[in-house]
């Protein structure tokens, strides 16, 4: 059974004047042990999708099932199986880090060792500090720790790496990966491409409340009908274009884009031409695009 199954999920907000669906017929699934990333610009509907899965928002259409149950009516049962990190969620007033972790582990009935959770999040030395005196990154790591006190079958994380510094981010991603490798499903929202590239098994790109693209990282980034390379700036691209019989351009100084099918012959021709001119070649990328490029193409074309 999938951890999460979302089918044709449509959510409308209560403002009839706007008439805009916050989510429009969104479908995807999260399997146990899988890390799925919801990627999208602000306002794309990422948080709305999470909130529907958490049972806060009733769908106007379609369905959401978490372990086969409707989260809107079975939240208490599901709360034993999931851990949730809401976006910018605080903790009850006046609590210290240690008190918060103890409270949430007791509410969930967490069976593990909370000291290990605190040390994995790098918070062991801050146990006596109050929430309000933590930095943004520390609050995020505490928030993740509280989510980990929940059930281990499913982790729902809303922007877990936002406001977290580089070291903290590696900790966060490491913790998420470990949860998935022990069999829990993970759904995270993010707008960071490097998060997705590091940990996601599947990516769902949301734009304007609809799924713009979905697949594994390889599926999304392969199939580009182009070759990109870096070399000294200001080469005569027209000459290379004539030689290859296709369009060649220099979108950024020193970055070249060859619009041709990425076959070995084309790559050989490019490197031969560069060698003839005595130029070095930097990065060469054939048949794949970075996730960022895919994302910008999709969201750019639709906006």
């Amino acid at each position: 059974m999938p951890a999460i199954e979302v089918e044709n999920l449509t959510v409308r907000y209560d403002r009839p004047t706007s008439g805009k669906a916050a989510l429009d017929k969104v479908s995807f699934a999260v399997e146990p042990g899988q890390i799925v990333a919801l990627l999208g610009p602000n306002g794309a509907g990422k948080t709305t999708a999470l909130e529907a899965i958490e049972g806060y928002r009733s769908p106007s259409g379609g369905s959401v099932q978490v372990f086969g149950l409707d989260p809107a009516t079975h939240r208490s049962e599901l709360a034993h199986r999931w851990g949730v990190m809401p976006q910018a969620g605080g903790i009850p007033m006046g609590l210290t880090v240690g008190e918060a972790v103890r409270l949430f582990s007791e509410l969930h009935g967490y069976g593990g060792n909370t000291n290990e959770l605190l040390s994995a999040a790098g918070l062991s030395d801050l146990k006596k500090r109050r929430w309000r005196r933590l930095s943004g990154g520390e609050q995020q790591r505490l928030s993740l720790t509280l989510a980990l006190c929940g059930g281990s079958d499913l982790l729902l994380l809303d922007e877990p790496t936002a406001a977290v510094d580089a070291e903290g981010r590696q900790r966060v991603l490491g913790i998420v990966r470990e949860r998935a490798s022990s069999g829990g499903g993970v759904l995270i929202t993010t707008h960071r491409f490097d998060d997705v590239e590091q940990i996601a098994d599947r990516v769902i790109i949301l734009n304007h409340g609809a799924v713009a693209a979905a697949g594994t990282l390889d599926e999304l980034t392969s199939g580009g009908q182009e070759i990109r390379f870096t070399a000294p700036a200001g080469l005569t691209v027209a000459e290379l274009g004539a030689k290859l019989g296709c369009e060649v351009s220099e979108p950024k100084p020193g970055n070249y884009l060859v619009q041709t099918v990425p076959e070995p012959q084309a790559v050989a021709a490019i490197t031969a031409w560069l060698a003839d001119q005595g130029h070095t070649i930097g990065h060469l990328q054939a048949g794949t695009q970075s996730l960022e490029e895919v994302f910008l193409q999709i969201t750019g074309a639709q906006s």
Partner: protein
Amino acid sequence: MNTSTTRSRIIALARTDLQVAARDGEQLLLTLGLPILLLVFFSKVDIVPTGDGEPVDFLAPGIISLALLSVAYVRLAIGLGFDRGFGAIKRLAITPLRVNEFLVAKLATTVVLFGVQLVLLAAIAVAIGWRPQVSISVPVVIMLGLVAFTGLAFVTASIVDGLTSLALANALYIILLLLSGLVFDIEKMPGWLQAIVKLLPSTALAELLRSGFSDTTGAVWAWLCLSFWAIGAPILASRLFRWE
């Protein structure tokens, strides 16, 4: 596999609340400042109409009611308002905690905090000459009052947000302080106003405590009024409560 029970969740939340309250003990004493000041001042300076007996006999039950109002209603409504504003209530919602467990846990915290205040206030009142004859109705009246005002705190925090909740709770505190016969005798009010204030839970609470501490059972209207609020407020609270 994680497991927690209704009992373990209520205990966890109430214990945490009490832990924080104990650490911020000075705040709790500060909220007692005004009741203690009113009690001592008006007992010694006989300027408010307090009926025929010793002023302290009239004032002590009223001030105890005021403390109950302050800890069960004002403190809780403000705390809930802020917790909601910070997204803390929403975070509790994703745990197995249920609405009624949340209500009971907050009530339990309130019972303990009020117990501490009651002991302090009673000791001060006795020190300045209060000689109550305690009826067995007193604990019943206090429980009804705590349930009614805890429920009302949840209702307030559910219908208005953070800062509004703070303003509303403080405003109601002053209004109820003046109108409910806590420090001023409602018998001195015009008849129409008396009829209105007798519908307030705080008026009934003060009336019943005054009777209870002079070993009488208290007026029927007051029992009806306080029971109505003690049943109605929690029901309304669990209906209106939103986790978000």
